[in-house]
Symmetry: C2
Subunit: 158 residues, 2 copies
DNA sequence: TTCTAGTACATTGTACGCAATTAATTAGCC
DNA sequence: GGCTAATTAATTGCGTACAATGTACTAGAA
């Protein structure tokens, strides 16, 4: 007993590194996407749809890892801005099909070109970029498998 | 001209990897911190304060990378829950000093022990963990330096 | 001292993110 | 067919994030 508890320092935490990096990327894309009036979550939604449209809200959500509580209002805003169309499925009225608008199809090359140009500012060569992404994905995979609720906490672990 | 625009696939993006990993860590900590009724941003706020208390809102914000718009309501909630105390500086009334409550000081060992136990679920050895963090921090540093608003966009880059 | 910047925090408005609940619809089972 | 369970979105409520604005206060210049 009385084993000294390992100290936890903010700057040494992987979670904080990811939290910070994610927020900075968010800010980076906010600026890069400003000419198109798109937010980062809206952009990844478009990325998913450019790969596969139409999709139901559920399918879309499984690609971008967002649930309907986030997607429904997000998609309604994107519909207002003219990026997507929402149509309730005629055969199964529980489902809503999300499809790209003509504007989204037409603007894709412009957005890709501009984003690619902005990405060059990072000054990361392709190898470093890919290795970083793979490293992060590896960690994300480990986190996904862990379930802290299985760790019993009695309130007197000390 | 007519150079084919490089394709952008969701699953190949570093930003999406970071975005996903960050959200999963958020969820991981939400479960790990549930016994203490702390959210992840509240936890990193405590981490910062455990290293250095008291701090002004500004100092705290520079450590956790959050501005007053986020911190003020967050700290008020933490005050309500009894984790911190907020006191306006007597010499300079523009400043608000945030200090740890006795509860926060007393509970620190319990939280550290429990969080450390949960972290073991990740199954990452220390070397991998540290290398991953350093890789992410390297990327975060690159992102910080990049400013997409400097990239001119005329609307006809094609 | 009075005027003027500058600083620090609070507030407002917009947009996520997600757990929990609700509503509508479909599908399975007798 | 009629009842029940499961599925799919939408809604609600709470907590971040952050830009932009407002307000109180401080400090430096004239």
């Amino acid at each position: 007993m009385a084993t000294p508890t390992k100290n936890i320092l903010l700057d040494e935490q992987l979670c904080f590194a990811l939290y910070t990096a994610s927020k900075r990327f968010n800010h980076f894309y906010a600026e890069a996407l400003a000419p198109f009036k798109l937010t980062y979550p809206q952009y990844i939604t478009l990325l998913a749809l450019w790969e596969n449209s139409p999709m139901t809200v559920r399918e879309l959500g499984s690609h971008v890892n967002l649930d309907s509580g986030t997607l429904t209002p997000l998609l309604k805003r994107m519909q207002t801005q003219g990026w997507v169309e929402r149509k309730r499925d005629e055969n199964d009225e529980r489902q809503v099909n999300i499809s790209l608008s003509q504007k989204a199809i037409d603007t894709k090359p412009e957005i890709f070109t501009h984003v690619n140009t902005c990405m060059e500012l990072l000054g990361m060569d392709e190898k470093t970029y890919n290795e970083t992404r793979d490293t992060v994905n590896f960690a994300a995979d480990r986190i996904k498998k862990a379930d802290p609720s299985t760790v019993k906490f009695t309130g007197d672990e000390l």
